[in-house]
């Protein structure tokens, strides 16, 4: 597993790029010709200075800290499961505006049930349909929160 020094180095490099990008965008902010007033870019500049200073301090901390031993992994990381979860979520986010809340949630719910260890197809099928539909109905009908119905959602309204 990667030690803390390496992680701090990764964070510093990323933050330096972020500072650069943020500073570039701040330079390009519009100015206002109002006397005795601070410009819209004033606070972002304060943040740029603050963020850059802190990033440099973190980088110095990385430089002065000695070589660290690798951290022993105490927990097994379910990498495959995490990747599947991420892909499922991305697919869900893409499908949600088109399919609507109920139709998009049923496969998400079923997929997550499987990833959390559910193995019975009947249990997964019933759970995902019943909970997705009831959550939708409770929020839409009782609490009047207008959730997107999408292509096939109208049957529930």
């Amino acid at each position: 597993m990667i030690n803390m020094r390496t992680r701090n180095l990764v964070a510093s490099i990323f933050l330096l790029f972020l500072c650069g990008g943020y500073a570039y965008l701040t330079v390009n902010l519009p100015t206002r010709a109002i006397e005795n007033s601070t410009q819209p870019s004033f606070f972002p500049w304060v943040i740029v200075v603050f963020l850059t200073g802190l990033t440099i301090l973190l980088l110095i901390q990385v430089a002065v800290s000695g070589k660290q031993p690798k951290i022993e992994r105490t927990h097994q990381l379910p990498v495959k499961r995490l990747i599947y979860g991420l892909l499922l979520s991305l697919a869900y986010l893409l499908a949600l505006p088109k399919l609507g809340f109920v139709a998009a949630n049923i496969p998400l719910f079923g997929g997550l049930m499987y990833l959390y260890g559910g193995r019975s197809p009947l249990w997964i099928g019933l759970g995902s349909v019943i909970i997705s539909v009831s959550v939708f109905l409770v929020f839409r009908q009782i609490f009047q929160i207008i959730l997107p119905v999408g292509a096939i959602g109208n049957i529930f309204c």
């Binding site: 964070a11 972002p44 901390q61 927990h75 719910f109 959390y116 909970i131």
Partner: protein, 502 residues
């Protein structure tokens, strides 16, 4: 007595409000006791409801959840040796040994009653201190308010992070995120990239859902693989009502835990876990029987439990009077108030005195219902610990989507929530604390506004921050908190070097 006090009591005692408090308590006890679900996650679950309910009812619901979530955390700590919330970690040290000795009911009874007294003490603090503090805060000018918000941020960074640099980095990222959208002084668009949805900025509630819920969902993936031993084996118990000798034993720990918790609750960022451990430690030192601690001492349960519940009332003091949240839960409470057009701060007591006192009395009812529901329903509530995660976790995922969508009826917020979830995971990997980022998002706009107003008033003369006594006081406290944090970090490093050297 101000007429607002009576009006507030009447408002908090309406049937709808009482039902909301009781429902909040029930949800809080359930959420608190499920390991892997924090109070923040619980609040995220009910968050969509707060958009549609009237403000006094939504706040009552959230307060019930906040108070009972703290108590609920102790049940799984006692029964399974897995704290339901971080604040219950200290409770497990004596609670679980008691449960293993066949006294699970007694341990939970002590936890419930101590929580009640801790909460009640903090209610009294809130009732008496908050209006006084609000009166003082009314005199604050822009430079004072800037210094106050700055102090709030520095103390959050000091408490929340093991490394002060990382705490400040997190806060700086939060401030950078706040600058997205319209400039608060002139309305100029900043960093919107032509995206209409970004003009209003990124709502901190959307960010909060992503930052807390997604890492929690991922954690439960990991827990599923690495099932902790003992999980799922519930200890059976009989009566939960403490007897007279237990009540006598609880006097010392409660008299330590309640004031410590209330005081630490006032400090932004300190929170329940710190209060619980400090009270535990003090109680152990003052106890006539310190060797019993760690082996199932009732005092070892009462001290942390009274402290972590006392934190809740303490945390409401800066939230209501100064608009400064001390933890994610009070940040959500601020969000819930803002959604209904109520700005927390000293003016809340002047302009909406009835509402402000209504919140305080709802907090009182939350403590009352917490003890009633916990004592009566505990036997049934612990069954929740056996609910399969295969149903629970996907349900939370769906509720997160609803919460972020319902905020502005916008898919864009769902994407933002997901992006913040990824950011939360990355920050956790890099050991950068999340809380400073979140609270900087809550306070960032105020910080910028007060800074710029002060500079405009003084014609860009920064000495304005050092001439007002209030401002000077807060800047002094901010400097003190930074020095204290640096000293604590230095001491920690020195100790770890000593312990690692042969």
């Amino acid at each position: 007595m101000s007429p607002d006090v009576l009006d507030g009591l009447v408002q908090a005692s309406q049937l709808n409000t009482i039902i909301a408090v009781a429902a909040g308590c029930l949800i809080g006890l359930v959420v608190g006791m499920i390991p892997g679900l924090t109070i923040s996650t619980g609040i995220i679950i009910v968050l969509p409801l707060t958009f549609v309910l009237p403000p006094e009812i939504s706040i009552a619901l959230l307060l019930g959840l906040y108070v009972s979530g703290m108590t609920g955390g102790s049940f799984s700590a006692i029964l399974l040796n897995i704290p339901g919330t971080p604040s219950a970690s200290a409770t497990a040290m004596d609670g679980n040994p008691m449960a293993r000795n066949g006294e699970a009911g007694r341990a939970m009874g002590i936890a419930i009653v101590s929580s009640f007294f801790g909460g009640l003490f903090s209610f009294l603090c809130l009732f008496f201190v908050a209006p006084l503090l609000a009166e003082v805060a009314l005199q604050f000018q822009s430079p004072d308010l800037f210094s106050l918000v700055f102090f709030g941020l520095t103390i959050i960074c000091s408490f929340a992070a093991r490394s002060l640099i990382k705490g400040f980095l997190s806060a700086a990222l939060g401030l950078a995120i706040v600058t997205i959208g319209q400039d608060p002084m002139m309305g100029t668009q900043r960093f919107t990239f032509g995206e209409v949805n970004l003009i209003g900025g990124i709502h901190f509630l959307t960010a909060l859902i992503g930052l807390f819920a997604i890492p929690s969902l991922v954690d439960n993936f990991t827990d599923f693989i690495n099932k902790s031993p003992g999980h799922g084996t519930l200890t059976k118990f009989k009566s939960v009502i403490p007897n007279f000798s237990d009540l006598k034993l609880m006097r010392l720990p409660i008299s330590i835990g309640a004031p410590v918790g209330s005081f630490l609750g006032i400090l932004p960022g300190a929170g329940g876990p710190i209060a619980a451990f400090i009270s535990y430690d003090y109680c152990k030192r003052l106890s006539v029987n310190p060797e019993s601690f760690g082996k199932g001492s009732p005092q070892g349960i009462a001290a942390p439990e009274s402290a972590n519940n006392a934190v809740t009332g303490g945390a409401l003091i800066p939230m209501m009077t100064l608009g400064i949240p001390g933890d994610p839960v009070t940040a959500i409470l601020i969000g819930a108030l803002l959604i209904h057009g109520l700005a927390p701060g000293p003016l809340l007591f002047i302009e909406n005195g009835e509402f402000a006192y209504g919140v305080i009395f709802s907090f009182f009812w939350a403590n009352i219902f917490n003890i009633i529901i916990a004592l009566i329903c505990l036997r049934f509530l612990v069954k929740v610990l056996t609910i399969p995660k295969t149903l629970l976790m996907p349900s939370i995922a769906i509720l997160c989507v609803i919460g972020s969508y319902a905020l502005r009826n916008n898919f864009f917020d769902v994407y933002v929530m997901f992006a913040f979830g990824m950011l939360g995971l990355a920050m956790r990997w890099l050991e950068i604390p999340i809380i400073p980022l979140l609270l900087a998002m809550v306070l960032g706009r105020q910080l910028e506004e007060h800074l710029r107003v002060s500079l405009i008033a003084s014609k860009n003369d920064v000495s304005i921050f050092f001439t007002s006594p209030f401002s000077l006081f807060f800047l002094g406290l901010a400097t003190g908190s930074i020095i204290w944090s640096l000293f604590a970090e230095y001491k920690r490093r020195k100790n770890s070097t000593h312990s690692s050297s042969p």
